[in-house]
């Protein structure tokens, strides 16, 4: 059982997409998580709800709105056209943007939880040691929230690898550009190529299981080290 050229292209594309999205989400998600963890503003609940929407919204709904927004007549589409970038649907970067929205809660929530668990005290201590707000964030919050960042990276990456619906809506099925593993499997099944579908599905199953196993092991280890 081996992968075809097209299968390998889909695997490579998927890994590239998931890595890009995870890195972007760590950059975008960290300030959002910090704000959500600290604020008592009336906007906390609405923003938290928007971040969490992809957890329950059908991917097709999110994909549909993003398609319209990024299309030639959408506000984002007009913006990208005015920059001379054309429109983003059916491109790799269109997938990246859609996936950033779609995987957002999987990155923001673990970071937010870890930041909330730090509590007020270490920040007060740092303030009495003359650390200003940015200093406190980089020398106290980030290191103490490290477990949250690890969980967030793993979940964000794995969740992007597993996307299907939103990819179909935004990206269609262009080899090497938007045809990721899940779409490739769908194609194999449509063409009744069950052997190839088996190979890719099996690989996905093993990947997903390993990721979750690693995550739970990690969490257990952290609990044990906290108890000591």
């Amino acid at each position: 059982m081996s992968f075809s050229e097209a299968d390998l292209a889909a695997i490579w594309l998927t890994l590239r997409l998931a890595t890009t999205v995870t890195l972007l989400l760590l950059i975008i998600g960290t300030p959002i998580a910090w704000w959500l963890a600290r604020t008592s503003s009336v906007w906390k609940a609405p923003i938290a709800a928007i971040v969490a929407l992809p957890l329950i919204l059908p991917p097709t709904v999110l994909g549909f709105y993003l398609l319209i927004a990024m299309g030639p007549h959408g506000f984002f589409g007009q913006f990208t056209q005015s920059l001379g970038l054309g429109t983003l649907p059916f491109t790799f970067w269109g997938l990246v943007i859609a996936s950033v929205f779609y995987s957002m809660p999987f990155v923001v929530q673990p970071i937010q939880n870890a930041m909330e668990a730090i509590g007020e005290r270490p920040l007060e201590v740092a303030a009495t040691l003359r650390a200003g707000p940015f200093d406190r964030f980089f020398t106290v919050v980030l290191p103490l929230a490290k477990p949250g960042f690890i969980t967030a990276s793993i979940l964000g990456f794995a969740h992007t690898v597993g996307e299907f619906g939103i990819i179909l809506m935004i990206g269609g099925n262009i080899p090497g550009e938007t045809r990721v593993i899940s779409v490739q499997i769908y194609d194999h099944v449509e063409a009744l190529e069950f052997m190839q579908a088996h190979a890719l599905s099996g690989a996905m199953l093993i990947f997903s299981f390993s990721v979750l196993l690693a995550l739970y092991w990690l969490q257990r280890k952290q609990k044990v080290s906290l108890l000591n």
């Binding site: 270490p122 740092a126 040691l129 650390a131």
Partner: protein, 368 residues
Amino acid sequence: MQSDISNNHIQASFQLKHPEAQDNSFILDIDLTLPSQGVTVIFGPSGSGKTTLLRCIAGLEEPDKGQLSINGEIWQNASLSMPTHKRPLGYVFQESSLFPHLTALGNLNYARKRAGKKASNQLYDHAIDIMGIHDILHRYPQQLSGGERQRVAIARALLINPLLLLMDEPLASLDKQRKQEIIPYLERLGSSLEIPIIYVSHSMDEVSRLADHVVVLKQGKVSAQGGLTEVFSQIDLPLDYGDDTGVVLQGHVIERDRKWHLARIAFSDGELWVRDRGDELNQAVRVRVLARDVSLTLTPDNDSSILNRLAVTVDEIAADTDEAMALIRLKTGSEYLIARLTCKSIDRLQLEPGKKLWAQIKSVALIS
């Protein structure tokens, strides 16, 4: 001139209302002038606003109204409030506050890097030395005992090179044995630092051992303040210390009796024998005389087993919370003693202010 006074004092006035109070009740409502040297202990029962006061001084709590100046330098007034990280203070929290992701040394260096002017190596060595933490610097906080963690936290607060050291019941989270282990370090600290220390405590033992100046808080208000001996020789204090009621006398060792293992302590106008702890001659010490250990006789009673006997004059008599008992303040020279007697005995001896008699002291505790 006003400025002369404020230039070498700590002036603090804070008002903090209960968040949902309609009746103008305050969590804290104080106006204090504190000496800018020595150890000031903020003393009072839990819930009296001690920690809140300390947090206001540190800028960790935002009062409704606040004014604070340290030796003439304004930290807070109606129009300005310096954020905590701009205030040159050190703070020791009640429970362990070491950063768990840094070793003990990493925690010390965190302070050292941020100390206003570059902290000297001398200060560094001194802080490590005075807290006795040289051998545990490579360990993480999880690997330290509660007492060791607090010693590192105190050293860290010193290394920030503060102009004012704030300590919020640093011993409260420790068991009795660990407390006894740290108190000597704190005593050394108080006598070796040139900066003022404000120390929050509800323990009579800590106050009598560490304080130079005492502020007694009750329900957010100052109910007494002054020098250590002065505050605890008042008998009309609104706080009920119960069996802890007593005075603290400061004196020094003038004689050691090898045969009977006793030491003679001289204070301003009298002498007491205590058990010899091995203190050097002329060593400054504090002794505590509890009110329940003082009894009175009209004549010097040489048949008694009691060693310590002082000629005293009745100064004031006040009711005790127990209605069978009363507190009597006695003057001996310029110092005071307090005796706790039954009302029946007071009636029988016909005690009244101005009456001269003898106080027998059953036990004297050397506390530092």
